[in-house]
């Protein structure tokens, strides 16, 4: 069951490479949030129920509901164009994503020799999600796409956290909640205010050096 969920997570990354619509990317975030919630429920049953319910609820509420809703709301309010306007073509993006998967699994196979704790499938997909997140940040101009890229990166890290330990150390949990906090802060503090300060929420003006 977990394998099927992880594979769906991987497929969502491939889908993210072929879509140009912000709305679809947000749907992907919701889907990933739900998948991570299900994996959490299936994998972390052996820890005490309080900690378990905190992690599971946090994953469901933040990753699958609040943050995607918030980004959607920001897009609507700020009249941002609904396309991501990537600087590379979809074909290139998809080809690169496939290569990233190959690299991720290659690394997982290599690492499988070192550690028995690790599930290569999960590691490969998590690693690919991290790279994909960074790729979205680099290849897009919109601030909102950067934020979506960051959240995909974070989802990958969460999957890796689930993969790394058969039990979740409390520190992983704290880390994830702090990451969520920062996403909210980024959104609340900056998107609205940058929108009001700048003519539009594109970032080229922010990336100039000197």
């Amino acid at each position: 069951m977990i394998e099927i969920l992880v594979i769906s997570f991987g497929l969502s990354l491939l889908f993210a490479s072929v879509t140009n619509m912000l709305k679809s990317l947000i749907r992907i975030l919701v889907m990933q949030g739900l998948i991570l919630f299900l994996i959490t429920v299936l994998k972390t049953t052996h820890i005490n129920w309080l900690s378990f319910s905190f992690i599971a609820l946090e994953t469901l509420i933040f990753k699958a509901i609040i943050i995607p809703w918030f980004i959607m709301d920001t897009i609507k309010k700020s009249n941002t164009r609904r396309e991501t306007e990537p600087s590379v073509s979809n074909f290139f993006s998809l080809a690169l994503m496939s290569l990233i998967f190959v690299f991720g699994f290659g690394l997982a196979m290599l690492s499988g020799r070192w550690s028995t704790k690790l599930f290569p499938l999960e590691f490969g997909v998590a690693f690919a999600a991290m790279i994909k997140g960074i790729f979205i940040i680099i290849a897009n101009k919109k601030l909102i796409s950067h934020l979506i890229g960051y959240l995909i990166l974070e989802n990958g890290i969460f999957l890796l956290a689930l993969s790394a330990g058969s039990h979740l150390p409390y520190i992983v949990n704290l880390g994830v909640s702090l990451d969520i906090l920062i996403s909210i802060l980024l959104a609340v503090l900056f998107i609205n205010r940058i929108k009001s300060t700048f003519d539009d929420a594109d970032s080229p003006g922010l990336l100039k050096e000197d």
Partner: protein
């Protein structure tokens, strides 16, 4: 002692709400800085154990507390015209920022260190946006976003360190050091690279440096001094601790090579931008990137150069903080951050002009600057290990950087300006005190 260190800031935060004037806020921050400095001095005299720190943590904590004291003194009474509500939030975040840095020095669990480094990012982003203008918002956005990505990668490094261990896993540094022989070398190496990139983003190491000049130049001068002098060291701390773990795992040849490459790359980036920058605060920010590169190079040049690394951290923090505080003076005198608008500083405000020139001389390593000794020792270490190419590259770039900073500094200080102006005494005392301390340390070398 431990509870005072964190209990007092908590009380201060509550007191901030009751305070009704900017001056009282300044007094509160000043009181906090005195307390932090007293604890640091006491811990130095009586031993780091009284605040449950190790020596490396105490070293960074002492630098932070000295700089915080100078900054609190510098800003005392300087912002009376600011709106009370905004200034209250600014002061509260300043207290949170310093407490978070203290907590990083104190923690010996990598998970906790990670969380507190994240907390310093959040608090300092609020401090950078104090002026609420377009460029400070840009800078804060860039800072927050790039550092969040960096900190996420550092977290991956921490997860990899968990993977590297057999059960029961721990992130406590003491336990990790004991477990070093049985850690999986593959995962420790991976973890090291991710942590270096992650925390390195926060230090402004190339190629993830591009937020640093914006953040350091757009923040108010006292905040820039803390960002450059204290926060960079704090973020360097986990990397140094990982370096120790790599040595313990017999993997130092890898960490040394990576340190050297990234160190030289950072110095190179700084060299290029120092020559073309038009903003003197950005100039100082690029100089911070350069010095962080030198520090990394020192830690990558074998055990002999480690002392040089620590001395360079100390010297750079004191001198750069003095430099940034003086930059604040210049901005309040000329109302511009561009060096083309600044001329005749020695005539307009003589003490600031002299402090600027002395700080320039000390940052490029002219004795009695501690940076002279540290750079000399790095050169010796590089010679000893036969790294002649690195040595030539380093000193070639240092000469270009000295030329770049010197050209602008002399242009700013010399020339004629008839309208002499006065500044409040603490605006001179604070940076002068830091430079005097740096000079004393350069003459009586401290033992680490």
């Amino acid at each position: 002692m431990f509870w005072i260190l964190f209990g007092f800031p908590l009380v201060c935060l509550f007191l901030c709400f009751a305070i009704k004037s900017n001056k009282q806020l300044d007094m509160l921050v000043f009181a906090h800085s005195i307390l932090t400095l007293s604890v640091a001095i006491l811990a130095y005299i009586k031993g780091a154990q009284i605040i449950r720190m190790d020596d490396l943590g105490l070293f960074v904590f002492i630098i932070t507390s000295v700089l915080y004291f100078a900054v609190a003194l510098y800003r005392f009474g300087g912002e009376a015209h600011k709106e009370l509500k905004a200034y209250r939030i600014h002061s509260m975040f300043l207290i949170i920022f310093v407490s978070a840095m203290t907590a990083v020095s104190l923690s010996r669990d990598l998970g906790l260190i990670w969380i507190f480094v994240e907390a310093t990012t959040l608090a300092s982003a609020m401090l950078i946006t104090f002026d609420h203008n377009k460029s400070s918002l840009e800078a804060a956005w860039k800072y927050l976003f790039i550092c969040s990505v960096g900190i996420a990668l550092a977290f991956v490094g921490i997860l990899m360190l968990v993977i590297a261990q057999n059960d029961p896993a721990s992130l406590h540094l003491g336990v990790l050091m004991q477990k070093a022989p049985e850690l999986s070398p593959f995962w420790v190496k991976m973890s090291f690279v991710f942590m270096l990139v992650g925390f390195g983003t926060k230090i402004g190491l190339a190629p993830l440096h591009f937020w640093l000049p914006d953040a350091h130049s757009e923040a108010p001068a006292p905040i820039s001094a803390l960002l450059s002098g204290a926060l960079l060291n704090t973020a360097l701390l986990p990397i140094l601790r990982m370096g120790k773990l790599m040595r313990q795992c017999q993997l130092e040849h890898i960490s040394n090579t990576v340190f050297q490459i990234i160190g030289l790359l950072s110095i190179f980036v700084a060299t290029v931008f120092i020559l073309k920058t038009k903003n003197f605060k950005r100039l100082l920010a690029y100089s911070s990137i350069e010095n962080m590169g030198i520090i990394l190079l020192a830690f990558g040049s074998g055990a002999f150069a480690h002392y040089a690394g620590y001395l360079h951290i100390l010297g750079h923090s004191l001198i750069k903080a003095a430099f940034f505080l003086t930059a604040g003076n210049i901005i309040s005198l000329y109302h511009s951050k561009y060096h083309k608008d600044v001329c005749g500083l020695l005539m307009k405000h003589t003490p600031s002009g002299w402090i600027w020139l002395i700080a320039f001389a000390m940052i490029i390593g002219i004795p009695p600057s501690p940076l002279f000794i540290s750079e000399f020792m790095i050169a010796a270490a590089l010679l000893k290990s036969g790294s002649y190419i690195q040595l030539c590259l380093l000193f070639g770039m240092l000469i270009i950087i000295a030329y770049g900073i010197g050209k602008i500094s002399f242009k700013m200080c010399l020339g004629s300006d008839v309208s002499a102006q006065k500044l409040s005494p603490q605006k001179v005392i604070a940076p002068a005190w830091l430079l005097i301390m740096a000079a004393i340390l350069g003459l009586w070398l401290p033992q680490f």
